[in-house]
Amino acid sequence: MSTVDRDRPNPSTDPAWEIVIGLEVHCELRTATKLFCGCRNSFGEEPNTSVCPVCLGLPGSLPVLNRTAVDYAMRIGTALHCRVQPSQFHRKNYFYPDMPKDYQISQYDVPINADGWLDLPDGGRIGIIRAHLEEDTGKTTHVGGGGRIHDAAHSLVDYNRAGVPLVEIVSAPDIRSAEEARAYVDELRAILVATGASDGKMEEGSLRVDANVSVRPAGSTDFGTRCEIKNMNSLRSLGRAIEYEAARQMALISEGGTVAQETRHWDEGGGRTGSMRSKEEAYDYRYFPEPDLVPLEPSEDWVAAVATSLPRLPADRRAAVAEASGLPAGSDAVATVVRLGLDHLVDAVVSAAGPPDAPSVAVRRLANEVAADPEAAASLDPASFARLVGMEAGGALTAAQARTVLKAIMDRGGEPEAIASELGFEAMDVSDLEAVVEEIISAHPDEWSRFEAGEDKLTGFFIGKVKAATDGKADLKAASSILRNRR
């Protein structure tokens, strides 16, 4: 294992290099049973209680494909804009204790879904090469040596997970930074959850990510030799592993070395990747068609039914919020509103048909104050929220007052009008506000003449005076238009 200086500059920002990343995401499907047998598919059961002759690979047992798993796979493929096509299963042969049959049933040259794409919130598009069905393996626990495989005395195997349905989603090598990789997984997770196919829980292993990482001189169109990185169990480790691995490869090449194509293991504690095999031997999986399973050819009706039953996906929801509010679909505020599932509150504001900028005010409040308290957000009454936003957008409440009222509603519920009047946030009458402005102008004749002469930056000075004189109750937008009109 080569060592890398940890103080090396961040590879994502080094302009001399480009990182090329493709991700393989394994997603466990939320079916009631396994892919090829009727054993329960559930996390956290007692060891080896959800097993049968099929998933234990006992002689003479035969697999039968789960219809719901196929349906979920088609939902995922459709949501990723893939072509849903006739497919078949293959055996991937290798020996490992977590796989009692000594082969994994997977899909090889004809996957159920091919050639799609995923749009990132910032507008980037990542190609999807394929999204195929396969079965999961059992779970090993290593005993002794601190639980690490290489130092363990022996291992224990629980086959509850063996045969659980997975969809493996393979991206094109279109990702260019650790940050973009995290954004891709985040968006993919949101899509998977939206389709109903997955619970998206990375910490329970429902979503597992492997990264193919290579580097090349900036401007080059050839791909460098890639390494496959495994064992990242959070978005944070994914980002760290990619940055470490890219820096390792850059250092290796800079020093005149070459990158060996290999699988490397991310060590979370040590913050580095290490080679997984002492002896490099290209794996020969001897794929061949699974003779116990007939081809899968979803009918046109089935494919169409899947497409029409999909809910609105995050990208479409962002477009809708952007359209309603006039904010860019790629903005953080819009992305936050959709990620936290707050778009129904924007819809409520749109339905209330208040002032024209009410929807954009709503998105700001949702992305800031409401997003900060997801628990209270879940029980926020859409009608009250819409009225509050209407009051702010209409000038009856200042931004600061609206924030205070919103916080009160989220903390203890109630009607925005009642809370505003309880807090003394009565709308200041325009003629009262004009009177205040006049008083301030008379008190500061020098500043006023400079402002009249065109010194615009004095707006801030006068607004500050208005704010102080009115104890924060004045609508400052109205005050500045009074100032401009008076000039």
Partner: protein, 109 residues
Amino acid sequence: MTAMSRRITTEGRISAKEVAHVARLARLRLTDEELERFAEQLGAVLEHARDVEQLDTAGVPPTAHPLPLVNVLRDDAVVPCLDRDEVLAQAPEVEDDRFRVPRILGEAP
């Protein structure tokens, strides 16, 4: 297998070295005599594949399965699993209700 079949159809025979490679992948220990014998037998099978390859199959779709069936599916309904004691009774060694296996020499591929 796919890589191998490509090799076969171009050369038309299989060497003892290739048999040894496949045997190793299948964790089979074969004697030199067996390697030679299986190379010859497998060669005959491949010879036959070569004969078939002479046929004009343009316009014939690839056969994915000998049975004229597609979409054999079951409903996603839970059925009773095996009793754990019975399952583990078959295991050479058991610890903490799990199958105990010897030290594993590398990460899963």
